[in-house]
């Protein structure tokens, strides 16, 4: 089981997702694919936060990945991207833990002013490494009741999360966060039906 990415986001009043801080573990991807994969991880995190209602949880499957999202009632959001083996409950408990700690390091007043992906939260890297092995990371896998009552909504594809009339291809095409190279990667991968990168 693998944990690929953890991100803390803010859902802005304009319903946009803004990455406050994020960390990726991409050593399992090919050398030339890593930058593209990283871009797509941020892209996906934003899309999901934008389309997840405030105070709700979701787990979205996409090929061999599962993206776990939680948007808190104060619009602070967390996204964890992992593979199918990674236990869903651990992923959501990890999000809880990170969102609880984040405001101590970066107070709420700064969330809207801080630059994209530059909020100070050095502990994130440690969490990403430690939670690669959920059994050692915490005894919490054995305590199944800790998670709050919020129901986790499951989606089978990212397309299922999109609003009516929206298409993933268009979102990729329009995105400013994706480089030309990543867009071509996406198109060629789609054409040859590969699942080399995320999405």
């Amino acid at each position: 089981m693998k944990l690929y990415s953890i991100a803390v986001l803010l859902k802005t009043p304009q319903e946009k997702g803004k990455i406050l801080t994020s960390k990726n573990e991409l050593s399992s991807f090919g050398y030339f694919q890593r930058s593209t994969v990283a871009e797509f991880m941020s892209f996906t995190s934003k899309i999901l936060v934008e389309r997840t209602a405030t105070a709700s949880r979701a787990s979205v499957k996409e090929q061999e990945y599962i993206c776990h999202v939680y948007v808190r009632s104060d619009n602070l959001a967390g996204v964890v991207i992992a593979d199918h083996e990674y236990p869903q409950r651990v992923a959501h408990t990890l999000i809880n833990k990170i969102l609880d700690e984040f405001p101590d390091k970066c107070p709420k007043a700064q969330w809207s002013s801080v630059k994209e992906n530059e909020a100070p939260f050095p502990e994130l890297e440690g969490y990403l490494q430690k939670y690669q092995n959920p059994r050692e990371a915490d005894a919490m896998t054995k305590i199944q009741s800790e998670l709050d009552e919020t129901k986790i909504i499951l989606h089978n594809t990212i397309e299922a999360v999109l609003q009516r009339g929206e298409k993933l291809d268009d979102l990729v095409e329009k995105s400013e966060g994706l480089s030309m190279q990543s867009k071509t990667f996406y198109k060629t991968a789609k054409k040859t039906n590969q699942c080399c990168a995320i999405l």
């Binding site: 399992s28 050398y31 030339f32 083996e85 092995n133 071509t184 990667f185």
Partner: protein
């Protein structure tokens, strides 16, 4: 026109390999059309990137040249063996399923134009991008056969008593490998020190191959070809030495804990446990290990994993294997003895192996019902139910 570009691309690729002989990874870059008049091969940090547009032209060219050379068509001139090897390299990098190209490389190895070591590292490069390419693994087994053959012939030519049989010979090799002693001790194997270098070379290749298997298994989930290659290595190169089997059992434990839905990995452990159990007498003597205890330990591991990660069918199948193995082992016999020696025999039926078997089956059913069936939901419950059904058929 296309032909000229093909020859140019082949030369560019050869240059790239000449500039950096230690390329350890390659990939296609999403550049669909040539944008500048430069080589489409990019070297960075021992990684080779190939612009996508070039691949089609290069592979077409290489396959035409190889086909022509192989069928010795009229008009096809003599081709230098080095060039043939480069053509097959260009072909296989992007198309490792082409068996003809692998066979051409076998011929090159046999005629001495290509060394086994060179071809092994080329195959490793291919596996970095195609980690489940069965043709590549098959070719590697052929290369290892070559190494084994030279190893055996160099030893039998030596006529030394300690290397007369391959089994004994490999047994020595393996214990050396475990202790991390290589060439320095090798001459003690034979009277003639020069020839004894061969076995140590084979051994270091085999250990490298185990690492390669771990990498390919990591890259591609449920990598059947990688794990069955590993089984082959155990049987052929390590002669199923007990020390190596035990060290493999230890080495793959943390791996399966992190890959709980990878049946191929668990199957490898089943192979190890079966091998160890079949030779339990020797295992107890040389390694001081009890094969039944190994099985029991594995059972508690899988139960623990089932508890932490509910809903994975692989774990339940592993449990089936273990329970069956335990029933067949002397576990029942030892329990029987314990019962009688402790004077705890309350029912006469426990002396009867069949009755004891059904007693343990019902105990297992009770365990599963109490632990997994009642306290779980969803898929885990379905799987637990299936396991109980299976137990009832025993």
């Amino acid at each position: 026109m296309a032909d000229a570009r093909g020859a140019r691309l082949l030369a560019d690729l050869d240059n790239a390999f000449k500039r950096d002989p230690d390329i350890d990874e390659y990939d296609m870059l999403p550049v669909l059309e040539p944008k500048h008049n430069k080589s489409p091969f990019i070297l960075q940090d021992h990684k080779l990137g190939v612009e996508a547009w070039a691949v089609k032209i290069l592979v077409k060219y290489a396959s035409q040249r190889l086909k022509g050379w192989r069928s010795r068509q009229a008009g096809e001139q003599f081709t230098d063996p080095l060039e043939v090897s480069h053509l097959s390299r260009a072909m296989l990098l992007f198309n490792p399923e082409v068996y003809t190209a692998w066979n051409i490389r076998k011929e090159l190895v046999e005629s001495g134009y290509l060394s086994v070591t060179e071809d092994l590292s080329f195959g490793a490069l291919i596996l970095s991008r195609h980690p489940n390419s069965s043709e590549t693994f098959v070719h590697r087994r052929w290369l290892f056969r070559q190494l084994l053959d030279t190893c055996l012939s160099s030893n039998s030519a030596n006529n030394s008593p300690c290397t007369a049989t391959p089994a004994v010979n490999n047994g020595h090799l393996v214990s050396m490998g475990i202790n991390g002693v290589h060439a320095s001790v090798a001459p003690s194997l034979c009277d003639n020190g020069t020839l004894a270098l061969e076995p140590s070379r084979l051994l270091s290749h085999a250990h490298r191959e185990l690492r390669l298997c771990s990498q390919t298994a990591e890259k591609y989930p449920c990598n059947y070809h990688s794990w069955s290659h590993r089984v082959w290595l155990m049987q052929q190169c390590f002669s199923s030495s007990l020390e190596v089997l035990v060290s493999e059992l230890k080495a793959t434990e943390s791996w399966v804990c992190q890959h709980i839905s990878d049946h191929s990995g668990f199957h490898y452990r089943q192979f190890l446990l079966t091998e160890l159990h079949q030779r339990r007498a020797k295992l107890a003597m040389t390694c001081l290990l009890n094969s039944t205890e190994l099985l029991m330990f594995e059972m508690s591991l899988v139960c623990d994993l089932l508890h932490s990660f509910p809903g994975h069918e692989t774990l339940w199948y592993h449990r089936r294997f273990l329970f069956q193995a335990l029933l067949k082992s002397d576990w029942l016999g030892s329990k029987l003895q314990k019962h009688s020696s402790n004077g705890h025999v309350e029912h006469a039926q426990t002396k009867d192996p069949d009755a004891l078997k059904s007693f343990y089956v019902s105990q297992e059913i009770e365990n599963v019902t109490k632990k997994e069936l009642c306290n779980s939901d969803g898929y885990q419950q379905v799987l637990a139910q299936k396991y109980v059904h299976w137990l009832q058929t025993l």
